[in-house]
């Protein structure tokens, strides 16, 4: 008895510790389970279809994939058909902000009732707005319904300037907040001690990696500091968003062409504004070649100026889009191969293929962020390089 009593407090302490650890792990497990359950729900059809809510044929799968790849005005986590045969959407609406012919209009996306093919028309002080394939259109004066031509283009409506907080914008803001939170805490940590603690230990080597492996060797010891802000921001921005895109929440931010164009334009302008005399000389008056050649090289070099950021934006866009499409296509194997392999077989095949590709996608997420930053710093390095050997 006495022994028991002496050991009891220790035992209790241990139990307390393990309990704490258990709660931490159980939280992780809970989140993982949640994510995976959402993932299984993501297999459900997001697209409201009047008759059949199941995605079975390859056309439907294709439509579903292209729907996911596009931006969305709602934040739908999953949807299902209830017993009455109605589509139920689980998620939340996002604000729509559009600049129409009558000025700025704002409302919540729930007013479209998840309709995405122009059947629901929202009337805002005489401005009739509708949503077709994730784009908001304003109906022409007097029209009450959208009419389509053979190629399913709206004939009596035109696109408006859409500054909505779409799912993509939510993803961007989320990534931005995560970065600000994570890295400002790392920065604050340095005030206390020169060695970071906690999560900063993970972040610091990444920052050092960008600095020592990407910026320094490509830009050069002399100039690299000036560009660190841009390069670090872009690297973590792309990486975090690529990784967010792999979660079943279903962000597809870096697979939006507008996003990659914007990122590449940043690189483009930074390169042009920091290009030194040598850089411009190499474009407009190439040294060391005959005069005729110099003139012939001007258009080529100017084209090269533009193709560099263009390759950046296409590479990122195409890689992420392809990755998402492949993952979803492999998930769809569950349905397409059901007849050939049976339910269990198609599920198993789909599971392992998706798992395999997802692992590769995790690598690609980093790789694309790395390549974008790497090439940006390479282009900057070429612009600020001093040619003393000419």
């Amino acid at each position: 008895m006495t022994e028991k009593r002496t050991f009891a407090p220790i035992f209790r302490d241990r139990y307390f510790l393990s309990n704490m650890r258990n709660t931490f792990f159980s939280k992780i497990i809970l989140v993982t389970a949640l994510v995976f359950s959402l993932g299984s729900f993501a297999n459900d059809n997001n697209e409201p279809q009047e008759n059949d809510s199941q995605v079975n044929s390859s056309e439907e799968i294709q439509a579903y994939i292209s729907h996911h790849l596009a931006d969305s005005h709602d934040f739908t986590l999953y949807s299902y058909t209830n017993d009455e045969g109605e589509r139920e959407h689980f998620g939340f609406p996002l604000p729509v902000i559009v600049w129409t012919s009558q000025g700025l209009k704002t409302f919540m996306s729930s007013e479209f009732h998840h309709n995405d093919d122009g059947h629901v028309i929202v009337d805002k002080d005489g401005v009739k707005l509708t949503k077709i394939h994730s784009k908001i259109y304003e109906l022409e004066e007097g029209a009450t319904a959208v009419s389509f031509d053979e190629e399913h283009h709206a004939t009596n409506a035109h696109k408006v300037w859409d500054f909505s907080i779409t799912k993509t914008v939510v993803g961007i803001l989320l990534a931005g907040l995560l970065m600000l939170w994570g890295f400002s805490s790392l920065a604050r940590g340095y005030k206390k001690s020169p060695i970071p603690t906690g999560f900063g230990r993970v972040l610091e080597p990444l920052v050092l990696y960008v600095r020592d492996e990407i910026a320094r060797p490509n830009i050069g010891e002399k100039h690299y500091r000036k560009f660190m802000g841009f390069l670090l921001t872009v690297f973590f921005f792309i990486w975090i968003l690529n990784l967010l895109g792999l979660t079943p929440i279903g962000f597809n931010v870096t697979g939006q062409i507008a996003v990659t164009v914007c990122l590449a334009l940043f690189t483009f302008f930074i390169v042009q504004f920091n290009g030194n005399k040598d850089y411009w000389k190499h474009i407009f008056w190439m040294p060391g070649v005959p005069v005729l050649m110099k003139i012939a090289l001007i258009p080529i070099e100017v084209l090269g100026m533009l193709t560099k950021p263009f390759s950046l934006l296409i590479r990122l866009f195409a890689n992420i889009t392809a990755g998402h499409a492949v993952v979803m296509g492999l998930v769809a194997v569950t349905f397409t191969a059901r007849e050939a392999l049976g339910v269990g077989g198609s599920l198993g095949v789909s599971f392992f293929l998706t798992l395999f590709i997802s692992l590769i996608e995790i690598l690609v997420a980093f790789l694309q962020a790395f390549i974008f930053t790497m090439l940006s710093s390479l282009f900057i390095g070429m612009a600020v390089e001093e040619h003393d050997h000419h």
Partner: protein, 166 residues
């Protein structure tokens, strides 16, 4: 390409443009600048600490070398001193031996000379005494002989026979 252009949302583009500009500004202000400064400071600190350690090590090495050299010198000096002392000792001993031999010879020679002179003196003394005795004897003999001629002769003869010179 048509699809791509259709997918391009100018609204999203401008949203991102503004968000990115703000994000870069905020990140530079609150994260990258302090992080970069802290990292550089830390690296400079490490570099200077390493340099200091290297300098200290070199200094230690120098000191050690100095010590070693001093020790070597001291040892050499000690050896030299010992050697010198040994030489001196040997020399002293040799000198002393030689001196003593010379001294002994001298004493012996002196003793011999003394003995010689003593002997000469003794012989001379004996000769004197013999002469005196012989004179005295001669006187007595003569006195006796003078009374008896035969006796005188016999006495002289006996006396002379008694006196034997060593």
């Amino acid at each position: 390409m048509d699809q791509l252009l259709n997918d391009f949302s100018p609204g999203l583009f401008f949203m991102l443009l503004i968000i990115l500009l703000v994000l870069i500004f905020l990140m530079v202000k609150f994260a990258w600048k302090p992080i970069m400064n802290a990292l550089n400071e830390r690296e400079d600190g490490i570099k200077s600490a390493l340099e200091e350690a290297e300098n200290a090590r070199k200094e230690m090495q120098n000191l050690q070398a100095d010590n070693e050299r001093l020790l070597q010198e001291a040892r050499a000096e000690r050896d030299a001193m010992l050697k010198e002392a040994r030489e001196i000792k040997e020399k002293i001993v040799a000198d002393a031996k030689e001196q003593s031999i010379i001294e002994g010879d001298k004493i012996i020679a002196q003793a011999q000379a003394t003995i010689e002179s003593e002997k000469k003196a003794a012989v001379a003394d004996i000769k004197n005494q013999v002469a005196n005795l012989s004179v005295e004897i001669a006187e007595k003999v003569i006195k006796e002989q003078l009374s008896n001629n035969d006796k005188q002769l016999k006495l002289v003869e006996d006396m002379v026979g008694d006196i034997k010179l060593n």
